[in-house]
Subunit: 291 residues, 4 copies
């Protein structure tokens, strides 16, 4: 397929590479030029501006946050103006439910198609085409995008017909990961202060009930107190939990555990750890235990 791709950060670069590898014709755009050139050597064409990328049947955006997506989609020379009738915008960024709803509405009015398809997975998973893709939108449109999803991920889940449902699932998933990290942080503080070996402890956890790889991944980082380099930055973890709380607030759903995780990420960022891995949340529990 002919695909436009906007946003070549840690995640986007790997994803665009995988589209090329799968034989798709990819034209890329990134605000800073350097990253686009690395993809050019892998066969991508480089667009001069957003408008040029939009001369495709499908355009993927993979950007940092609501602000970046808003900047690229709205305004005079931006995506919504540039995209053709029936063209598809696949928004794979982790954005708010509110912005996703707004994009759905605006694309609809412009006669365009909007599919939300945020992903689970760290940059290594993006590079290895091992992402989990959560797609939502018109069933036919999602089907049209499937070859692209196949190129980038290990599996695609269709959440619902309303695009923003995929964003909600993604945000709730990141909340649940935050809860896992918080619970590990508190448990490790207790274990360490009781004199039990953290690595032995982790082995027991992951060898019994907590067999999901996330426990191993995060537990190892916490046991090693190794928070650099960041697989996923604490500032982004804070952003996502904020977005989860925003939609919870809008729907009148109290989420006290989400509030707790939010407050702890906020403390981490306030203490200057926004660029550390979000697992550094565990350090707060350790510090508060006098460790």
């Amino acid at each position: 397929m002919h695909v436009g791709f906007i946003g070549l950060g840690h995640m986007g670069s790997g994803m665009a590479h995988n589209l090329l590898r799968a034989g798709h014709d990819v034209i890329v755009y990134n605000r800073s030029h350097g990253k686009a050139e690395a993809l050019a050597s892998a066969g991508a064409r480089i667009a001069a501006d957003v408008a040029e990328v939009c001369r495709n049947e499908v355009v993927i955006t993979m950007l940092a946050d609501d602000e970046a997506v808003t900047a690229v989609t709205f305004g005079d020379r931006k995506m919504i103006a540039a995209l053709g009738k029936n063209a598809v915008h696949i928004s794979m960024s982790t954005i708010s439910v509110a912005l996703s709803d707004r994009l759905a509405e605006v694309h609809r009015q412009a006669g365009q198609v909007y599919v939300a398809a945020p992903v689970f997975g760290r940059p290594e998973a993006a590079a290895a085409a091992q992402l989990f893709i959560i797609a939502a939108g018109d069933a036919h449109a999602v089907q049209r995008c499937q070859p692209l999803f196949d190129a980038m991920g290990q599996k695609t889940f269709v959440a619902a017909a309303t695009p923003s449902a995929a964003n909600l699932v993604k945000l709730s998933g990141n909340f649940m990961l935050g809860a896992v990290i918080e619970s590990l942080g508190e448990a490790f503080a207790l274990i360490r202060k009781s004199g039990v070996d953290p690595h032995r402890y982790l082995e027991i956890l992951t060898g019994t009930l907590f067999s999901a790889p996330i426990y191993k991944t995060y537990g190892t980082l916490i046991a090693d107190e190794k928070y650099q380099p960041a697989g996923f930055k604490m500032s982004l973890g804070l952003k996502d939990i904020r977005l989860a709380l925003a939609v919870a607030d809008a729907h009148s759903v109290p989420m006290p555990l989400a509030s707790l995780v939010h407050d702890h990420f906020l403390a981490g960022v306030a203490r200057g750890h926004g660029d550390s891995d979000w697992c550094r949340l565990a350090e707060l529990s350790a510090r508060n235990a006098g460790l």
Copy 2:
């Protein structure tokens, strides 16, 4: 081996059966007689009192709580008085770290051996010899018990040389399960109020990052709002989180997530759901969201 077994509840019955199946010579004692008889037909001998059970090289206790274990171990005609020199007491109940420390000391003074070996697993796992056993104590003593552990569990983990470390690991594990249930409860409240199908949602969670069976088990119960019969009662969940907080308090380890889970279990019990499955924790999130 010749094994005494005290406590034939939901868990203990299955465990004793598995010891018999593995060819061990088992003499059982239970406060209410009926349960012992069921085991007799499977080949167990029935003891008239605690003292009779204690005329064995190894005695296992699998009781409800600290109170029950204290009643069986201390006092004039009880275990500590009745057990011989070098005999082993394997305490498999979920008890407090403080009681486990006290048992270690008292058995030591009596020239007896104390091994703590609490388990992870629901009654079905106990029946199927699929428990995870967390053992701690003198390395040689633990080794001596291994054939028994092999008969009851799928795998044994040795936590440390201090027996109570196993109890700590068990309690911290139940805290982490409580955290999983709380996070699922909040996420499902949000998802349901947003109109996303809960079963579809659960499929996405368990098909992506949350692949540990616990998420499937608890998530299904929550999606189905099926809290009877209880695999593990909320009153017991409350008891365990209380014990986790007690040791955390003793070691000056603040655990705000554990406090939150405690407060929610306490609300569930206060509302009359102590006999429901502890997953019913999720109902509080649903109710507070107006569902």
Copy 3:
């Protein structure tokens, strides 16, 4: 002075009356006409639209929320367009710090003066000219407004030269009131479940350390479980704590108690109590204790 007054709700009506009583020349505007007429009989002139109110040296706004203030101030025929050079806008509504900052900037650009002057006090205090007024802005401008403040309140406090500081103080004050209500709710649940008489208990609290009238006011409502009519609606309490958390989030200040109060107000609103007095927060503690 010649004063325009916009917003004749529970608070605004009493305040406008007091301006009239103090001899000021008041022209009022309210979206729904009925309330303006009641003031006309007390000597107020009625404006046909916002623009007419703005032909005064000072215009006071006392509106429900950010949305109402935004609607009145921005747009083609609205306050900022209609107000003359050097005219003063006194914003007495409880609004966000962000909107207050924006108003300060926009009025400055228009050559106008902006003073923030939110108040502490319930409708009865507004009617009795017993409000506490928290003013912030250019010192000279605040001084110019003092005769008006004297007519409406019992005392004026000048918070800072930055107008939004007054809004911050107001929001933080409402957070602290929310904390008082939450603490009373939990304490009363405990007291009632222990069989102590709630009124006797309240008498002890207020007769000893908790002598501020707020404890008496809220404690009595909670002891009587009398949540209608609302002196201050729970939905507004939720709104204010949301605004407090928004500025805390923007400044990276974790406020776990504010999060807790927010989540409990949200539960109250989700359960259909948005129009009850915000003291009904206490009911959640009672319910969770099985009362």
Copy 4:
């Protein structure tokens, strides 16, 4: 009256002095001898042991915690054995509801009278006979004690006929003070990070709705960040909130704000601030905000 007095710490010394000043005949006992001698010069007799103090119609205990009270009351040569029939034990220490219930029962069985009478007030208030006394027990017995209460306090409140009700009221009051401190700590962190002057802010709080002296006392300490010397130690604040949570747990009353305050005091103690004033709780909010 002839009064025995046990426990001459920061609080007890002042209280015993005031009994002497009011003309009562006081015999004192303290574990460490030095403090008793200071009272001897004011006219007190010094007892050699607990038994000697108990040869009086009324004996007051004012000790640090449950452990100290248990040591003095139970055992072979202790209060309950030494006290005569119909003699009154006034327990003014801040102890658990459970211990108070136990004392009531044991004294009753011994034909003695038990009155619980914990106090609100810092050491300066004890020295100035300005304590608030919360008494509970048999009405006639409380009346008998009134002259003593009058000598030590500014006002006595009778909580109920069950002695432990007074302890419950005291503990719940300390919980509410903890909530005030937490709310001040969070508000000051927000205010400081927003650039508002903390002392100006405090002046507004205490000049408006938060007029109770506790807000002035604690707010000033927090604004000054002056946590030494301790008027009331954080370790004692932690002890009291623990006791409040214990009775709440026993009565199935979830108190999430009490849990939050507990966890923060625990963090303070774990970080080595157990001997600081309990207001230092505010420092945690400041640190978590990066201040």
